[in-house]
C-alpha cells in the first residue's frame, strides 16, 4: 500500500497532469483512497494504470455506495491493485443525484458516469450490477442491461430510499393489527 505521504505524492502527480481531478484523499484504517471528480474518472484511472511507477493494472472490484442523506449522494468505488508490488488503492468518484438536485425527487433522472470498460474489461459485468441495483448509468458501456434482477424489474432496490418490501405476517398476537 502507499502510505499517507505516498498517497499525497500520487495526488500531487495526478493534479499536475489533470488539474482539479482529485478532490480529497483519505487514509482511513491504512487504506489509501482518492476522492475524485466523476467528470475526470477515466483520466485518473488511465493515469493510475499507465503511468510508469504506478501500474495499477488490475481492477479488483467496482461497486457503488448510497450515502443518503449526504450530498453528493452516490459514490462509485474502484478498487485498484498493482500485482507486482501487491499494492491497493481505492478511487472514489462522488456522484450527485440529479433527480434531487433538480428539486424533483422521483423524476427518474439517473446519475451518469463514464464507463471504464475500455480500460478494464472486467468492469463490464460489475458496471451492469451497479446499474442493476443503484441505477447508475455508465456512459459508453457496451450493453448496460440488468444482470441479476429480472429484466422487467422496476426500481433500484439497493438505494436507501427503496422500500424494504415483504409483508407483515399474521400471528395470533398481532391479528387485530394486521388480520
Amino acid at each position: 500500500m502507499p502510505d499517507a505521504p505516498g498517497l499525497e505524492l500520487i495526488r500531487g502527480e495526478i493534479e499536475r497532469d489533470h488539474p482539479g481531478s482529485v478532490l480529497a484523499t483519505s487514509f482511513d484504517r491504512e487504506q489509501p483512497a482518492l476522492v475524485v471528480d466523476s467528470e475526470q474518472i477515466l483520466a485518473v484511472l488511465a493515469w493510475l494504470r499507465d503511468t510508469p511507477g504506478q501500474h495499477y493494472t488490475f481492477l479488483s472490484s467496482l461497486h457503488v455506495a448510497d450515502y443518503l442523506p449526504a450530498t453528493p449522494r452516490f459514490a462509485v468505488h474502484y478498487e485498484l491493485l498493482n500485482r507486482d508490488r501487491v499494492e491497493r488503492i481505492r478511487v472514489k468518484a462522488m456522484l450527485a443525484d440529479p433527480a434531487a438536485e433538480q428539486g424533483a425527487p422521483g423524476t427518474g433522472v439517473l446519475p451518469e458516469i463514464d464507463s471504464c470498460v475500455s480500460l478494464f474489461p472486467t468492469a463490464n459485468f460489475q458496471e451492469r450490477e451497479a446499474f442493476d441495483f443503484f441505477g447508475i448509468v455508465f456512459v459508453g458501456h457496451p450493453d448496460l442491461t440488468r444482470i441479476l434482477l429480472p429484466e422487467d424489474y422496476v426500481g433500484w432496490p439497493q438505494r436507501r430510499d427503496f422500500p424494504i418490501g415483504g409483508e407483515p405476517v399474521t400471528f395470533t398476537y398481532n391479528e387485530h393489527n394486521y388480520g
Binding site: P150, V154, P157, I164, G165, G166, E167, Y178, G179
Partner: protein, 205 residues
C-alpha cells in the same frame, strides 16, 4: 394350492382369511403414496436437509418408497421447494411444476418457501403458494430430516385420501380459518398497502 384341494366350507373360509377386497381407487392411491418419485431439485440451504440428507442411509427415505429421485420433472411426481424462492426463480419453479405429470404434489419446506422467512425484501417471494399450489408446508429453519420424513408421511396420508385434519378441534382453534375471519383477512394489511403504494410511486418515476 391346486384346484380340488379344498372344497365347500373349507374353501370359503380359506378365501375369507386370505383375500382383501378394496376399491380400485384406494389401491391406486395406496400404490401412489408408496412409490413417490421426488424431483432432484434444491433451491437453497434446505436442500441439504431434504433431498440430500433424507435419502442417505441415516434417514433413508427409501423406507417410505421415495428413494428414486428423478432428474427430469417429466418423470417426477413430487417437488420439494427447499429454500427461498427469489422473484427471478419463481417462473422457473412454476414451469418445472407445470412440466410434471399428474398426479403431482408440491411440498413447501422450511420458513423461506412457506412465508419468505427472514428474507422480507425486494427479491424473495413471500410464500411459494403465491405462484403455485402447495400440498404441504413443513415448518423449520431448516427442518430436521426427521421433520421432513414426518411431513412426508403426512403427505402419504393425504394421497391416500385421509389427511390428518382436525387440529383446529384439538387445539380449540375453530374460527381461525382465513375464510371464517371474514373481511380484513382478504384485504392487504395497511403496511402492505403502504409499501405497495411506495413501490408504485417509484415505478412511475
Amino acid at each position: 394350492m391346486l384346484r380340488g384341494d379344498l372344497e365347500g366350507e373349507d374353501l370359503e373360509r380359506y378365501v375369507e382369511e386370505r383375500v382383501v377386497t378394496t376399491t380400485f381407487e384406494k389401491l391406486q392411491n395406496w400404490a401412489r403414496s408408496n412409490s413417490i418419485f421426488p424431483l432432484t431439485f434444491g433451491l437453497a440451504c434446505c436442500a441439504i436437509e431434504a433431498p440430500i440428507s433424507v435419502v442417505t442411509a441415516r434417514y433413508d427415505l427409501a423406507r417410505f418408497g421415495a428413494e428414486a429421485l428423478r432428474a427430469s420433472p417429466r418423470q417426477a411426481d413430487m417437488i420439494i421447494l427447499s429454500g427461498r424462492v427469489s422473484i427471478k426463480m419463481a417462473p422457473v419453479v412454476r414451469r418445472l411444476y407445470d412440466q410434471m405429470l399428474e398426479p403431482k404434489w408440491a411440498v413447501s419446506m422450511g420458513a423461506c418457501s412457506s412465508s419468505g422467512g427472514m428474507f422480507s425484501n425486494y427479491a424473495v417471494v413471500q410464500g411459494a403458494d403465491k405462484f403455485m399450489p402447495i400440498d404441504l408446508h413443513i415448518p423449520g429453519c431448516p427442518p430436521r430430516p426427521e421433520a421432513v420424513l414426518y411431513g412426508f408421511t403426512k403427505l402419504q396420508r393425504k394421497i391416500q385420501g385421509s389427511p390428518d385434519q382436525g387440529w383446529r378441534q384439538r387445539y380449540n382453534a375453530a374460527g381461525t380459518e382465513e375464510w371464517a375471519r371474514g373481511g380484513p383477512a382478504s384485504r392487504p394489511s395497511p403496511e402492505a398497502a403502504e409499501a405497495y403504494e411506495k413501490a408504485r410511486e417509484l415505478s412511475r418515476a
